[in-house]
Symmetry: C2
Subunit: 142 residues, 2 copies
Amino acid sequence: MANESAAKIIATLRQQGVRITTARRAVIAALVHTDGHVTAEDIATAVQADAPEIHLSTVYRTLESLEELGVVDHVHLGHGSAVYHLAANRHQHLVCENCKKVIHLPHGLVDKLARDIDARYHFTLRPHHFALIGLCEDCRET
Amino acid sequence: MANESAAKIIATLRQQGVRITTARRAVIAALVHTDGHVTAEDIATAVQADAPEIHLSTVYRTLESLEELGVVDHVHLGHGSAVYHLAANRHQHLVCENCKKVIHLPHGLVDKLARDIDARYHFTLRPHHFALIGLCEDCRET
DNA sequence: ATCTTTGCAAACTTTTTGCACCAAT
DNA sequence: ATTGGTGCAAAAAGTTTGCAAAGAT
């Protein structure tokens, strides 16, 4: 699970000619420290504990840039906000549509399906980019 | 592909004690006629061709009721609005994240994955409730 | 007559954008 | 000095809600 450090990410950005600002440092730090599905709002809150002037819209813009550079991914878990995580930390999500619980899956589980879909529809699945929705053990009994 | 007729759906509703109004008739008619991923807005537009006074919020409320009764499903295709379709017309969606093209899949394709996930995580996948995101043949070459 | 449903307007949530100022290179 | 990035406020986009009036039973 090659967990990229903040320093490494910043080096990558610098290499790409991206400017390293307080806001970007803070967003990266937040992403590195949480290690799993956070919303833009979550990140803003975390970041604003130290630097209250950093605006939510800056967080969105930073996440957008980081995504373009391949450093983060975002996933729509179904309802509400999208969640973001480091691309290095790629995984599947199983989301219970009743209690909203999230289960992480090893990313290989969907490989067979991805191959089938490629063979039959010439379509490349990007499985880390969506959540698998359903009912968890506790909720499915009703 | 047991395509339920409007009349049959209306009979079902009546049986459940749901009142049959102009708006509900119109929404059902729209769903029956389009047969594939329409947004609430699409339905409102279709419906308003005949009955301009039917409001978007009524469409939302009607869709919500129909969903509770098991007559329609809605799916989040990733970005933007959710799309609705008749539950009888259940299928998977493959959505190209680049050109937004939608490919319908037979609903059986994901069954193996659903069984694996059930066996290993005691989680019941509801595969028709989310889209599979990726890149279509035309877009993946870039 | 009753009680659900509707139309409307307004709120709400999440995300995006325009613009003048600021700061990293 | 340049030019990209930021803060702010305001707009978008999608969906939900409160309420009084209308309509189905």
